[in-house]
Amino acid sequence: MAVERASERLVELLTRDDAVQEQWVTAVAASLGSRISRAELERELSELYQALLQALGKGGLDWQDEAYSEVRALLVELSRTRARHGFTPTETAVSVFAGKDVLEPTEGSTAEDITAYLQLARLFDALGLFTIEAYARTREEIISAQAEQLLELSTPVVKLWEGVVAVPLVGTLDSARTQVVMEKLLQSLVDSESEHAIIDITGVPAVDTEVAQHLLKTVVAARLMGAECTISGIRPQIAQTLVALGVQFGDIVTKATLQDALRHVLQQSGTALPSGGTR
């Protein structure tokens, strides 16, 4: 009973002045600057305002209630748009919290008004937090999608010659990436029936024991399938680091440049080199 009365009061509070929605939009627009058009802001907030009124009209102040599903959906939509356009979490939450400021009690407010305002404030707080949560979720989705794209982008397997494939590695190698590289390389060995693979690590900024271990695993896996692996693109500094670390590549062929590696592979497979190709 009390709750119903309170939400009725809230509806009154929200509708007592036609300017409430207008002020809300103005407050949000002031904090967001010119990065979003006023018309769009008005559309977003009026939808939210209407949905909120409707939810309050149905009674209940519990934002998790069925009555608020429309409000929640709108907030999620709003957060997503904000997150995609690069707004900060504060700028996103302000869209909700500004509504609170607009309704702040004045000197002429009755005790009943203030009680209603406090309840409304609690509701707005919850909705604001919900907005931030949705915002964070969207950001995380974006980040994971980008990470996936990066993973795909950074591991191309290129065919260099008949029976020779190469993987130019760029960026830091970790276990996850090595796994992807390994799988892609081995699959391409099967698909192209190549007997030679060249792993070029020119673009790998640092090689430590772990990365070396990953490389070794890839080479051994390729050998198990019946293909030979050559590692190329070892910079002078990296060679020094590897020796200092005590990493040994054993009988794996290593070359300074991709060119040397390709030449070595072609000689191995007995392909005739164009004249002037030997040195």
Partner: protein, 125 residues
């Protein structure tokens, strides 16, 4: 009666194509059969085709190494062909590098490898 893996003779080479899930007993039977056939036929090479093999464990990995060792003792070179990427990765993760086992990508390349070997060994085609 469990399944047996057939051992086929192809010229100087014995061909073992594994098409069933490798249970321990099948593996042991195969080793017996193969050793007997090598002696009976005087084969100089063995090709083990594992194209259809999707799952390996350390037992199967060791069996491949053992089979190769047995064959070599009987003067037949072993080549394992058609290993899938996933199988290779699993074996590496298990720490099995199958030292001493020769590998080739396809059956064709495996046979060519044995042929080259034989030519080099006997000095005649």
């Amino acid at each position: 009666m469990s399944d047996r893996v057939p051992v086929l003779k192809l010229g100087q080479v014995l061909l073992v194509s594994i098409q069933v899930d490798l249970e321990d007993q099948i593996v042991l039977d195969l080793q017996d059969d193969l050793a007997e056939r090598i002696v009976a036929t005087g084969a100089t090479g063995v090709v083990i085709d594992i194209t259809a093999l999707e799952i390996v464990d350390s037992f199967v990995g060791r069996m491949l190494a053992n089979t190769a060792a047995i064959s070599r003792m009987l003067d037949a070179e072993t080549v394992v062909v058609g290993m899938r990427p996933a199988v290779a990765i699993t074996l590496v993760e298990l720490g099995l590098s199958l030292g001493g086992v020769r590998t080739a990508l396809t059956l064709e390349k495996g046979l060519a490898l044995l042929e080259r070997d034989r030519t080099a060994r006997t000095g005649r085609p």
